[in-house]
């Protein structure tokens, strides 16, 4: 009924909407956050993590990560809000012995303080996808205000619920939170840079998070 080239053209035309839906939408093409109503996103803990970086023995930068990051993100007009919880027992350095030391009261004291939290307060939009967010960081029972630079890294729906990604960067003085091990002689740096990569899902299809 149809010739072979016609069939190929028809098949290609029919597949356009499928590919269009599957390809991630670039940030520049997404509807600006300000145009949307208030939305709440649940952090996907499998695809979110927090990295920290600290100077070791005055030389190299040591990196560690927390694998268990949970919480929620709210977007409302130009405002973004974060309510993030990190399980310090999920700290990972790639070395079992060092992980044990990081979990001890010398550092995160995970048995005594089983959760670290960040609750945002005010947010200021400083670029098309950038915010300056001030909030309270609670670590080892001490709460201090921190200011994080947060970038929206993407927003897409690839069939597993609409997702949004953020990357937050901030620096903390660990001594302010009572993590003083190695500070005296500068063996381990006092300032710790933290980078949190968040992926959050809006209305996810059942069992697809």
């Amino acid at each position: 009924m149809f010739c072979k080239p016609c069939l190929i053209v028809l098949a290609a035309a029919a597949s356009i909407p499928f590919f269009a839906a599957a390809r991630p939408t670039p940030i520049s093409a997404v509807e600006p956050v300000s145009a949307r109503a208030a939305e709440t996103w649940k952090i996907d803990s499998v695809h979110s993590m927090a990295l920290f970086r600290v100077q070791h023995l005055g030389a190299g930068m040591f990196w560690g990560r927390f694998d268990d990051v949970q919480g929620s993100i709210t977007t409302n007009g130009d405002q973004v809000g974060f309510d993030v919880m990190i399980d310090p027992a999920s700290v990972s350095s790639g070395n079992d012995g060092l992980n044990g030391h990081l979990m001890s009261p010398d550092f995160f004291s995970v048995k005594e303080f089983p959760q670290m939290t960040f609750k945002s307060g005010t947010s200021e939009k400083i670029g098309s996808n950038m915010w300056k967010v001030t909030g309270d960081l609670t670590m080892r029972g001490v709460t201090k205000p921190v200011t994080a630079m947060i970038e929206m890294t993407g927003r897409a729906d690839m069939g597993k619920g609409e997702r949004v990604g953020f990357e937050a960067t901030f620096t903390v003085d660990r001594a302010e939170f009572g993590v003083t091990y190695g500070v005296d002689k500068g063996a381990i740096g006092k300032d710790v840079r933290v980078i949190v990569g968040l992926e959050a899902v809006g209305k996810a299809p059942e069992g697809k998070i």
């Binding site: 070791h56 023995l57 027992a89 070395n95 079992d96 012995g97 060092l98 044990g100 030391h101 990081l102 979990m103 001890s104 009261p105 010398d106 550092f107 004291s109 995970v110 048995k111 005594e112 080892r140 029972g141 001490v142 001594a175 009572g178 003083t180 091990y181 190695g182 500070v183 005296d184 063996a187 381990i188």
Partner: protein, 290 residues
């Protein structure tokens, strides 16, 4: 400055014990206990940069409890001369200490009771020695005995606790040196207060290491570390009592054996295949890329 304070804290008990034994013979043991507690408090507070009070970090209650035990022990000094009086003092101090500690694993009432009983039992067992043996071998045995909880704390990844217990162990060693120098005229007894402080540091130090341990170290190693100073009793065993020299050697050997057993158990944790402390270098050979 803070490092200097640490050094002073370690040397202070020996200086206090010597001066008190020479100048104030009767009240000397009370001061030794308080000086030992001061060494514990200073070494811990230095590491915490003299943080606020009450401390936000649970383990910082350890030096405060030790100080309280020293003060109570010093207060009980004259009133608790009899066996019954000493027993009551041990129980009261054990329970007061256990009630104050806000640590994970020790929050339940029965756990606190167990910890209090352990402090009381260790104090009661050490008291006969602490009140009558003021020589070099006794202080050396106690110093070696406290190495066990210190090494165990280090093996479980709790370096600050290891340093704090190590400071008290070091202070005991210096008192032992002072006892050797001042003998035979003066004997530097630990007295009720000092002995209770030593028992409390051993038991509560081991309990702290257990409370914050994430390495899965078996519980019996913590019990062994807490009991290490009791190894000094070997010097009182009938085969060794005949000669003062043999008794002294047995006293030291008893504590050294228990401490050695604890260190033996900790060696694989302290020196694993991969270096595991925050200062270690990663020098494990990596396989070549295929």
């Amino acid at each position: 400055m803070e490092q200097h304070l640490f050094l002073i804290a370690v040397l202070l008990p020996a200086a206090v014990a010597t001066c008190a034994a020479v100048l104030l013979r009767r009240t000397a043991p009370r001061l030794v206990g308080v000086a030992l507690a001061a060494a514990c408090v200073t070494s811990a507070r230095v590491q915490d940069h003299f943080g606020g009070l009450p401390p936000t970090n649970g383990w910082m209650w350890l030096p405060l409890v030790v100080l309280l035990v020293a003060v109570l022990g010093a207060a009980a000094g004259d009133g608790a001369t009899g066996r019954q009086g000493r027993g009551i003092a041990c129980v009261v101090i054990g329970l007061v200490a256990a009630l104050l500690l806000p640590w994970p694993e020790w929050r339940a009432a029965e756990s606190r009771l167990l910890l209090g009983a352990a402090i009381a039992a260790c104090s009661a067992l050490l008291l006969p020695l602490g009140m009558h043996r003021g020589n070099f071998s006794w202080w050396c045995a106690v110093s070696l005995g406290l190495v066990a909880p210190s090494v165990l704390a280090l093996a479980t990844g709790f370096a600050k606790l290891a340093i704090t217990i190590g400071a008290v162990s070091c202070a005991c060693g210096w008192i032992g040196v002072a006892a050797a120098v001042t003998r035979p005229r003066h004997r530097l007894h630990a007295g009720i207060a000092g002995t209770m402080v030593l028992a409390c540091v051993a038991v509560v130090g081991s309990a702290a290491a257990f409370a914050f341990d994430m390495s899965g170290t078996p519980a019996w190693i913590f019990v062994l570390a807490a009991a290490a100073p009791l190894g000094a009793w070997l010097g009182e065993a009938p085969p060794f009592r005949g000669s003062a020299m043999v008794s002294a050697l047995a006293r030291v050997a008893g504590a050294a054996m228990i401490t050695g057993a604890v260190i033996w158990q900790c060696v694989p944790r302290l020196m694993p295949d991969q270096p595991g402390d925050a200062y270690a270098l990663r020098d494990v050979a990596r396989p070549p890329n295929p």
